[in-house]
């Protein structure tokens, strides 16, 4: 019970600090504060999708159904955080570029990422047999992950994008004010904790549902 309590206090602190302690800087004005929410959400989305991919590969190797449940939970959490990153990004884009959506390469790639996992859930709902569902959706997740590098890493680099980069590749510096950096890192830690907590609850629920199903079919 202590963990969620600490997490709650921590995140409240981050939210307050992002408005009062952190300076609004770097030519982005007040809109720059959204970095504290947008970037960690995107980071967690990538992390959760990566975990889903690892779980799917594990399922294909070993064929244990609990790995499939983990992949499903990770894909769900990834989608939630990916939606948050998309929405906060659109809000920021409205403030900085004047439009909620303008098909900047970053926006394109995140939209496609969301579509891939939407298709993943459609595929899961189309199959009844649990083993077949696990196997086919794992194959699809891995296949999609091979094309994701094109979208997330290559497309924004090749095509001209207006999206600001945190890490300056030309002189290897980190473009951030020190107070901003502190709040940003605290938020990153908070989001990661939030993800771990949500994952724990969600996986417990899925395991219980699975056991209930087993008991009913006996």
């Amino acid at each position: 019970m202590l963990g969620p309590l600490i997490l709650g206090v921590w995140m409240t602190g981050v939210i307050i600090a992002s408005f009062l302690y952190m300076p609004a800087t770097q030519g982005l004005g007040v809109m720059g504060r959204i970095i504290v929410y947008h970037v960690p959400a995107a980071w967690i989305a990538v992390l959760a999708y990566l975990m889903a991919m690892v779980n799917s590969l594990g399922y294909l190797r070993r064929g244990q159904l609990h790995l499939d449940r983990q992949a499903q939970v990770n894909a769900e959490l990834g989608t939630v955080f990916c939606l948050l990153a998309t929405v906060t990004g659109a809000i920021w884009s409205r403030g900085a570029w004047g439009q909620y959506w303008n098909w900047d390469p970053r926006q394109t790639s995140i939209a496609v990422l969301l579509m891939i996992y939407a298709a993943y859930f459609v595929l899961r709902s189309a199959i009844d047999d649990p083993d077949r569902k696990a196997r086919l959706s794992a194959v699809y997740a891995v296949l999609a992950f091979f094309t994701v590098p094109f979208l997330v890493f290559i497309v924004p680099r090749i095509y001209f994008s207006l999206h600001p980069d945190l890490i300056n590749l030309s002189d290897r510096s980190f473009n951030m004010d020190s107070r901003m950096l502190k709040v940003f890192l605290a938020s990153l830690a908070g989001f990661t904790g939030l993800y771990a907590w949500l994952y724990k609850i969600q996986i417990r629920l899925e395991n219980l549902l699975y056991r209930l199903e087993m008991k009913r079919s006996e």
Partner: protein, 227 residues
Amino acid sequence: MEIKPLPWLKQSLAVWRKDLRIEFRTRYAYSALIMFAITTLVTVSFSVGGFALDADISAALLWIILFFSAMAGLARTFVHEEEAGTVTALKMAAQPEPVLIGKYLFNVTLLSSLTVLVVPLFLVLLNQKVLLPGVLVAVLLLGCLGLAGASTILAAIVAKAGAKSSLMTVLAFPVLLPLLFAAISATRMAFAGGLPRAITTDLLMLFFYDGTAVVASLLLFEYVWNE
């Protein structure tokens, strides 16, 4: 997975020939592809009338037509095996990888014969000028290879999932989007001209996408095929 080039090649070609022969008997997949493409093409051409469209719009239209026609026909190869009950026989006759390669070759054949017919018709009906014909041919070739490459394993997944007809389009669209973006951008430049550097970038994207799709399918196909 052990790679044996020569037996694989022989088996793949055998699967390819078998599929071609079956297709020649009924011509079902090919007619479905062609009719779908012609229907959309006529609709577009009729509504546009005598006007010449912008290169942006006609490039997108061309790939919309090719993508949806491909979706109408490419799932057929594996769905047919499931319907006819010949899956077990094919499993016994050949390794999984040659089956995939054979089906891939068949889909490439199907798609390129569609493209050869539809693209000239498209250019005539929409009064589209082509400034760089060589680039257009390269884009169409790479695009067909990529469309077939990603669709073949998805067709196997759809066939195992009970051949639900709408599933193919839903699954293929996000996976094929990187290909479609690069293909549309390169086609636009083939129609209206563009910087050589930009064209090379798009063609390289297509090339690497094709390679990734085939390699990923080869690695994963075993899990779909053997149950």
